[in-house]
């Protein structure tokens, strides 16, 4: 224990030396293929929202209380699965201070149509059903009734006074349970879609599909080593620090104004419009600062409910979830059951890869099993691949995205079996991965061919990193490695630039800023305009004030909204050339622009001076650009991790951790490092202790931050980062996106390290002390 702690302190100290964190040493990307020189992109300006955030001035949803507000509370199901026989709200309604009560009956009936919920489509009926339970509750925490009252205490008391008569039903907590023929069906109208075809079978399997390349039977036949294992992962929550919140005001003119914490103000607007059957133009959504989301602040939970309560009362209604509400009523990400089989020939060539993934969608279809299947073998170039995916509904909260949704579960399985094959072949695990890695032109099992990618560069960076060859020392220690892939998304973004007469530029955008994106977007505009990042003043605005912008998610914001800023800035440059031309009596084509200086025939004028002459040269200078980019570049990441296992208690100490990621171009290296560290930490939590601990009755036993064990700072070493830049040819600055790929390898890398430290392979997450101890104890019993 004490030696582990010292080793950790040393590793942290050396990591912070290398990282230069805290001092002025600039970043040295380990491997750079993006060789273009930039003036702003790649530097570390202070973030525009920094002062507000560190002084506590930034306004979050819970800070906002409009005059005359009522406060809402939600009654949630105490049962995992039950039919609602009746709801009696009379006692609550009779209470002093209670102003309104709403149930599913207050929602307009859901039409049978699909709705875009941010990163994909789903049935409107499912969105409805999750917002307020209709006829049946499908998980503990399912919202049933909402109350608006004079204050939050009365609202909560009123919610408790509502009487619901339940007929309990058997529940299924995991995919294998829910897939069993005797399992109670959650949705009578859910028919399995098999290989793209609707069947007539109502079941909990919403969908089953398969992707194949070549012939795995052939491949396994040619293999001299074949390994196969089955893995399970527990449900985990995104764990953002700020609970969901909303204030809604349904005005007397029929306009609905919503203030909330969301990753996508336009998603809130559009989904609320569909659910309430009102035009999108009647809704204005103002996103407030957001205290984390990680994918979990894409779904809409409270907004339509607060809107209904506001419509009934004519007053603003504010609702703020408790931590328990967040655990049982929002998120989480899918628990999984994954089988992986890998075959390789004696020379270390992968011959066949096979996987079957069954993911828990929670109460409604949509488990992110598809991205799991797309990513599971993406790092490997193999001719014979087969991947089966099952999307399974279970009696847990409906899944939300969580940072590379679906991929960490897949990697936990695949990267362990890959490791095992390398071990059995006697090949170094990084060498083995390099020998088989995906490159430009490799075809992924789900169809696309990779364009320029950085899988090989990431693995080489692992090999070259001093961590990989550092001595481990000590007893019961092991080093593990794993790799992960995330494809990233593009979607749609808008940006407007307004040039001020003092030479600054207001940047108006609609991407809520979760990880410093105001700055990374502003920097791209600054680069084009040839001015400093500080001279751009970015602002995230409401849905009435900027063009449509998709969610902050899919690692797309710096990539896509940054691209919109780039395009808008190019329009400004074009306009400024024409303004300079006017000054000098020449056409815009005669004016040259370089780094913010406009010149023609020996005359020149800087951006600031030219901005001051806007009125004399034709009026305000402003430009808007919208994008729907295609050139999305996927990101590979890898971790090196050293652990020490206490064989007597099963406790795993992380001694040293290095995260490597190809980000294309690190626009703001500090935020890139922050994303890599954040994703790694969440991956470590997922690996070691986090889980929804469910009782036999299907209720969550640890819905508090005390017992849902996310890592604290004392549980973590310094997370060393190694930025790899293989420019994405599809983006003006080579950006790929950085927010997600980093959460994928940690659980697998830690499992591989435990295997080397303690001689056991953990096939279930979390690898908590009791689980590790039981595995070690079992192995000892077998050895004895």
């Amino acid at each position: 224990m004490s030696s582990a702690t010292t080793a950790k302190a040393e590793a942290a100290a050396s990591a912070s030396r290398r990282n230069g964190s805290g001092d002025s040493q600039d970043y040295e990307p380990n491997m750079v293929l993006a060789t273009r020189h930039f003036d702003v992109v790649g530097t570390r300006p202070v973030r525009h929202d920094g002062t507000d955030k560190v002084t506590g001035r930034a306004i979050y949803g819970a800070d906002l209380t409009l005059p005359d507000s009522l406060h809402g509370a939600v009654l949630r199901s105490p049962h995992a699965h039950a039919r609602i026989r009746s709801i009696d709200t009379s006692k609550a309604e009779a209470m002093d201070g209670v102003h309104a009560v709403v149930t599913a009956d207050d929602l307009p009936p859901a039409e049978d149509k699909q709705v875009d919920v941010g990163e994909g489509m789903t049935r409107l009926a499912y969105v409805h059903g999750n917002i307020l339970a209709n006829g049946k509750v499908l998980y503990q925490g399912h919202a049933i009734v909402a109350v608006a009252a004079r204050n939050a205490h009365i609202a909560q008391e009123a919610a408790r006074a509502i009487e619901v008569d339940y007929e309990l039903l058997p529940s299924s907590m995991t995919a294998p349970e829910a897939m069993a023929p005797e399992a109670e069906v959650l949705h009578e109208d859910l028919f399995t879609k098999e290989f793209g075809e609707e069947t007539a079978r109502p079941s909990n399997i919403a969908e089953h599909f398969r992707w194949t390349l070549g012939d795995v039977g052939d491949g396994f036949g040619r293999s001299s080593v074949v390994a196969e294992r089955t893995f399970d992962t527990a449900t985990v929550h995104q764990g953002y620090i700020e609970p969901h919140n909303v204030t809604a005001l349904w005005n007397h003119d029929g306009r609905l104004h919503i203030w909330c914490s969301t990753q996508g103000a336009f998603v809130v607007r559009d989904v609320t419009a569909k659910v309430l059957e009102i035009p999108v133009s009647n809704i204005k959504v103002t996103p407030l600062e957001i205290g984390g989301g990680f994918g979990g602040k894409i779904p809409v939970y409270l907004e339509p409910v607060a809107a209904l309560l506001s419509r009934k009362t004519g007053r603003p209604v504010k609702m703020v979830m408790t931590r328990e509400d967040v655990f049982i009523g929002t998120g989480p990400t899918a628990g999984s059951h994954v089988r992986v089989k890998v075959g390789a020939s004696a020379d270390g060539q992968l011959q066949a890869l096979e996987a079957s993934l069954a993911y828990e969608a929670g109460a409604y279809p949509g488990s992110y099993v598809a991205p799991g299947g797309m990513c599971i073998f993406a790092p490997y170039d193999c001719a014979n691949v087969s991947v089966d995916c099952y999307d399974v509904v279970v009696n847990k909260p409906s899944c939300a995205a969580y940072r590379a949704p679906g991929a960490p579960q897949a990697a936990f399985a695949a990267e362990q079996v890959i490791d095992e094959v390398a071990e059995r072949l006697g090949i170094d695990p990084v060498e083995f991965r390099l020998q088989n890695c995906s490159k430009e032109g490799t075809r992924r099992v789900d169809g696309p061919k990779f364009r320029r990618i950085g899988c090989e560069e990431v693995l080489r960076a692992v090999q070259d990193h001093p961590h990989w060859s550092a001595p481990l020392g000590g007893q019961n220690r092991g080093r593990g490695v794993a790799v992960g892939f995330w494809f990233n998304v593009g979607l749609e973004s808008s940006c407007t630039l307004n040039v001020n007469t003092d030479g600054t530029v207001h940047l108006v955008e609609g991407s809520t800023d979760i990880g410093g994106t105001r700055t990374s977007i502003a920097m791209q505009a600054a680069e084009v305009l040839g001015i400093s990042a500080e001279e751009i003043l970015p602002e995230v605005v409401d849905t009435d004030s900027v063009g449509f912008t998709s969610v902050t998610g899919g690692s797309r914001t710096t990539f896509a909204t940054g691209w919109a800023a780039h395009d808008a800035a190019q329009k400004i440059v074009a306009e400024m050339r024409s303004r300079a031309g006017k000054l000098w009596g020449v056409g815009p084509e005669a004016v040259e622009h370089e780094k913010g200086v406009y010149s023609c025939n020996g005359k020149s004028i800087g951006f600031r001076e030219l901005a001051a002459k806007a009125s004399r040269t034709g009026g305000p200078v402003s430009a808007t650009a919208t994008v729907k980019p295609r050139g999305v570049g996927g990101s590979f990441s890898a971790d090196i991790v050293d652990v020490e296992v206490d064989l007597e208690t099963g406790k795993v100490d992380i001694l040293r951790f290095t995260a490597v990621q190809d980000v294309g171009k690190a626009v703001h290296p500090s935020y890139v490092e922050g994303q890599m560290q954040g994703g790694s930490v969440q991956g470590i939590g997922w690996a070691l202790n986090e889980e929804y601990f469910m009782g036999d009755d299907g209720t969550m036993r640890n819905s508090s931050l005390l017992d849902y064990r996310m890592p604290t700072v004392l549980d973590l070493p310094m997370i060393d980062t190694c930025i790899v830049e293989v420019a994405n040819p599809g983006h003006p600055f080579g950006v790929r996106g950085v927010g997600e790929a980093n959460i994928i390898p940690p659980p697998a890398a830690i499992a591989n390290a435990i295997r080397r430290a303690a001689g056991v392979r953990l096939q279930r997450l979390p690898m908590s002390p009791p689980a590790v101890w039981a595995a070690v104890d079992k192995a000892r019993g077998m050895a004895a």
Binding site: H153, E648, N702, R709, P711, L714, D715, S768, P770, A774
Partner: protein, 291 residues
């Protein structure tokens, strides 16, 4: 809405009168780090809260070589580990008060509250039992003294009657050649509830155990004094074999449950491991040598 009366008596008499008057409806408030959390979660709803922090008798912290330590029931952890005499004479108690919660919690949380909350996992209690502490209890009717190991009667249950208040804990002065230690196991490195804990004390004489006590946390409905573990050590030479036997006695005495914090089997194993490891430290502190 639910209303609460808050009383803050300034003297012991006022305090005892208040408890006598309100009886079952009242609940004592020390640091509030258990009580306020429970009230907020709706697990307790007492109509009257009596703050004992202004009562002098609950705030004393004094050490005397012949009397030992008088530890007022409301003294917060930071005062205890900030006290030179306690640090010198009761390192086993320091182990536990410096691990309860974190710095902020230790600014408020008291050992009296830790004990009266009667959680099986309370970290200060096994250390108190190992150190032979007793509870000084008062009511308007009179005073009584109860050994800490007899104080808790079940989860959240104690021998306190509705009109009674815990005034202080009394710890005898450490004898020469003695040492103590408290160790707990938590999956994280802070902010967690003991999956199991072991508080031990030893007295060594001539290379043998003259006396020993072992108490466990979180493996029974109450903190558990394992007399067998002490008995097995008495008279034995100080060596690792003896520690292992005590560990096995602790394992055998544990009556754990399986829950989200660990399985029963795992907790029993922890009892053996923690007892052995805590004894190693206690022996070192007593100036012993395990070879």
């Amino acid at each position: 809405m639910h209303w609460i009366d808050y009383l803050r008596p300034r003297t012991l008499d006022e305090c005892l009168d208040a408890f006598a008057e309100h009886g079952e409806a009242a609940r004592a408030l020390a640091g509030g780090t258990d009580l306020l959390v429970q009230m907020r979660e709706g697990r307790r709803s007492n109509a009257v809260v009596i703050d004992v922090k202004a009562v002098e008798e609950c705030n004393q912290l004094s050490y005397d070589d012949s009397e030992g330590l008088t530890l007022g029931a409301a003294v917060p952890c930071y005062r205890i580990y900030g006290d030179e005499a306690v640090r010198r004479h009761y390192p086993g108690l320091i182990d536990s008060v410096s691990m309860i919660g974190g710095t902020q919690i230790q600014g408020r949380a008291s050992v009296g509250g830790n004990l009266c909350n009667a959680s099986p996992s309370a970290d200060a209690v096994p250390a108190l039992i190992a150190l032979r502490a007793t509870c000084l209890i008062a009511s308007s009717e009179g005073w009584r003294n109860v050994p800490v190991e007899d104080f808790c009667t079940g989860p959240g249950q104690t021998v306190l009657r509705p009109s009674e208040v815990l005034l202080a804990l009394l710890l005898p002065p450490p004898e020469p050649g003695s040492g103590a230690c408290y160790l707990r196991f938590i999956p994280r490195n802070e902010m967690d509830i003991a999956v199991a804990g072991a508080g031990v004390s030893v007295r060594l004489s001539g290379g043998r155990f003259a006396d020993a006590r072992v108490a466990l946390a979180a493996v029974a409905p109450t903190p558990l004094l394992v007399r067998e573990a002490g008995e097995v050590l008495k008279g034995r030479p100080v060596d690792r074999n003896a520690l292992g036997l005590a560990g096995e006695a602790a394992r055998a005495a544990a009556r754990p449950i399986s829950d989200m914090r660990g399985t029963a089997e795992y907790r029993s194993n922890l009892c053996a491991v923690l007892t052995r490891r805590a004894l190693e430290t206690a022996v070192q502190r007593a100036g012993g040598d395990l070879g």
